[in-house]
């Protein structure tokens, strides 16, 4: 068995000892004047070569260090050390990749699994508080429309539809004086309609279709799930050290632009048709409204559809015959259209 030499630092004193090296079975044997040590090869690590031709050999869990000159070592010792080095590199890659996979897994769970599970557990008071906060924030930017008759007509319709849809809590509807064509649901079962949507709609049944669609989101808790999903993404991003910690305000802002998944949208559409039908109202409004918007130029595609433009499938799915009563009387529809005109005098 060939022997090599090295300088051994015992980790107790700085002074170096000259030792003889040999590979014996699965160990590296260090022998010097008074003592001997056996280092298990699989716990041994070899560093990169230093400019003076030396390299460190360390033993995991030990303070002892061995300084060798790889060029002067017998080939069998060097081979044994290098093999460990390669195995170590393999372990590092394995660890790194599995670490990344774990992080990815955690992110997927946080974003896709946790929200659906946690949403039913969030107390209504917390949802209501969040929704109220967001609504106050938005009302600070855009005037709340106060037309009493119009608002009453919208609320009457919303109440009728939500009872039909089996929603037990009241769903307050708020109209904001904003020209964008949009409507959305906030946590705490609140629906916001922007004036632009009412202005654009050709009749009350189209507005009723959109309202029924939003009530579908309320029934399915979609917004809460999306909010939790967003929070999960923010959490995952923050944990990884990039991205800003999502403050409540930014989460609030994002709530208004949340895009629900295609499945959630389709399911809300289906609920809308079903609810309108159950309530004995015409259910063709939603489909007509989609087509109306689609006919517009793409760059002015409104927020309501910007994130998930109506595919042919989606429009086809909501195209139904016009059977049933109108959602609003003519007087009601006139009042709804005027809901944002100041009637304080």
């Amino acid at each position: 068995m060939a022997e090599g030499a090295g300088r051994y630092f015992d980790g107790k004193r700085a002074a170096a000892h000259l030792v003889a090296l040999a590979v014996e079975g699965d160990s590296l044997r260090l022998t010097g004047g008074g003592g001997a040590e056996a280092w298990k090869l699989r716990r041994v690590r070899l560093t990169d070569r230093l400019p003076d031709g030396t390299a460190w050999v360390t033993l995991r869990g030990s303070e002892g260090r061995l300084l060798i000159r790889p060029d002067d070592l017998p080939p069998d010792i060097l081979r044994a050390l290098r093999k460990e080095r390669r195995r170590e590199a393999g372990r590092v890659w394995l660890l790194g990749l599995s670490g990344l996979a774990c992080l990815g897994g955690v992110a997927v769970v946080l974003v896709f699994v946790v929200p659906r599970l946690v949403a039913p557990l969030v107390p209504f008071a917390a949802q209501d508080w969040l929704g109220r906060a967001v609504e106050t924030q938005m009302a600070a930017l855009h005037h709340r429309c106060t037309g009493a008759d119009g608002h009453a007509a919208l609320q009457r319709l919303a109440d009728r539809l939500r009872v039909t849809a089996g929603i037990t809590r009241p769903v307050p509807v708020t109209v904001l004086d904003d020209a964008r064509i949009n409507a959305f649901t906030l946590p705490g079962d609140r629906v916001i309609v922007l004036r632009g949507l009412i202005d654009t709609a050709e009749d009350g049944d189209e507005v009723a279709g959109v309202l029924a669609h939003e009530l579908g989101h309320v029934a399915h808790r979609d917004v809460l799930v999306m909010a939790l999903r967003q929070a999960g993404m923010a959490l995952a991003a923050t944990a990884l050290g990039f991205g800003d910690a999502g403050t409540l305000t930014t989460i609030g802002e994002q709530l208004t632009t949340l895009s629900c998944s295609r499945a959630a949208e389709a399911s809300a559409d289906a609920s809308a048709l079903h609810t309108l039908d159950e309530a004995g109202l015409r259910a063709d409004g939603l489909g007509r409204f989609f087509r109306l918007l689609q006919a517009r130029h793409s760059f002015e595609l409104p927020g309501f559809l910007a994130t998930h433009p109506p595919t042919a499938d989606r429009i086809a799915a909501v195209t139904v015959p016009a059977i049933g009563a109108h959602a609003f009387t003519d007087a009601e529809w006139t009042a709804v259209r005027a809901v944002c005109q100041d009637d304080s005098d």
């Binding site: 004193r13 700085a14 000892h17 990344l100």
Partner: protein
Amino acid sequence: MDVDHSIQMPQGEPAHALQYDGRVGEIYPIFLMNLLLTIVTFGIFRFWAITRMRRYVWSRTSFQGQRLNYTGRGGELFVGFMLAGVVLGALGATAVGLAELLKRVDEQLAVVPFLVLYLVILVLALGAPYSAQRYRLSRTEWCGIRGGMRGSMLAYGLRSLLYWLLTPLTMFQLIPWVQLRLTERRINASSLGSAQFSAQFSAGRVYGRFLVAIIGTVLLAGVIGGVGWTIAGPMLAEQQRYLQAMHGHPPDGPASNMAIQLIILLVTAELTFFLGAAMIGAAYQALMLRHMADNTALGPVQLSGRFTALGLLWLVVGNLLITVFTLGFGYPFALQRYARYVTGNLCATGSLDPATLSQSEQRAPRFGEGMFQQLDAGGGIF
């Protein structure tokens, strides 16, 4: 075992305390690979990148003819970072919760938890360099003997906060004292094995230069402003007359020439001021570095510094230009210059005896630098 006598033990004349033999050509592959992996892992690799770079720089630095060995692992930095994130998150959540509770009592009271939170974060941020230094020392080995640091990061953070709060009360005259006291505290807590670092600084020795630097900067601004105004004043008056004569029509010809001259004058004045102020600042900083080095010892090894204002200015301005004009890709050159400057200007008299230097008794932290990485913008390696 046979004792090996290859460790140098210089005595008498001061010699370079550290030798550095790194090469830019060797740093580049590490730097570029780090950059690439950091990008493809969305930044997560940076902990391993820092470690790889430190391992290189340490291994190219020798003390008494023996190379330093960096034994830190990237995973330790990563876990430390995650743990610090959890702590900060918990602190933030606690503050939000308390604020909600207090809001029910009194709307005004809700601010209190956040004020406390900011103070706590400030203390943590000020203490973070302390624990980061502890981690680095514990991962730095010389002849198998590692560094260590005692003392509490929170105590240091609190003390720093107190000191920095005091400075405005003294019209900022306390700055040299604060800088020296805090550095002294960190050095005195540090050790290499059984050899203790010791420092004793005196703010009185640098205060004169500090005062000169402040007065000098103000005087410089005054002189440049005065000279500039003497030249620009008549030009401005001329321009004013010209513009009035034009009745607001777009001026060209003599007036626009004058505008260009004014801009050149302004830029020249600003550049002169910044260069002059940098010179004055460098003179103060160089004196600080010399004072710190001259009054620091590692066991029987007395350090001394040869840092000069010009040398420091050349290093800092040069590195700034290198980094800016290469869009960061010149970093290995900047690193190399930095390492050369420090090792080339730090001297030592006396030496550590390897036969008596024994292992550190300080417990090495398991993870490292979490708060430092979380709260300090510094992603640098030192």
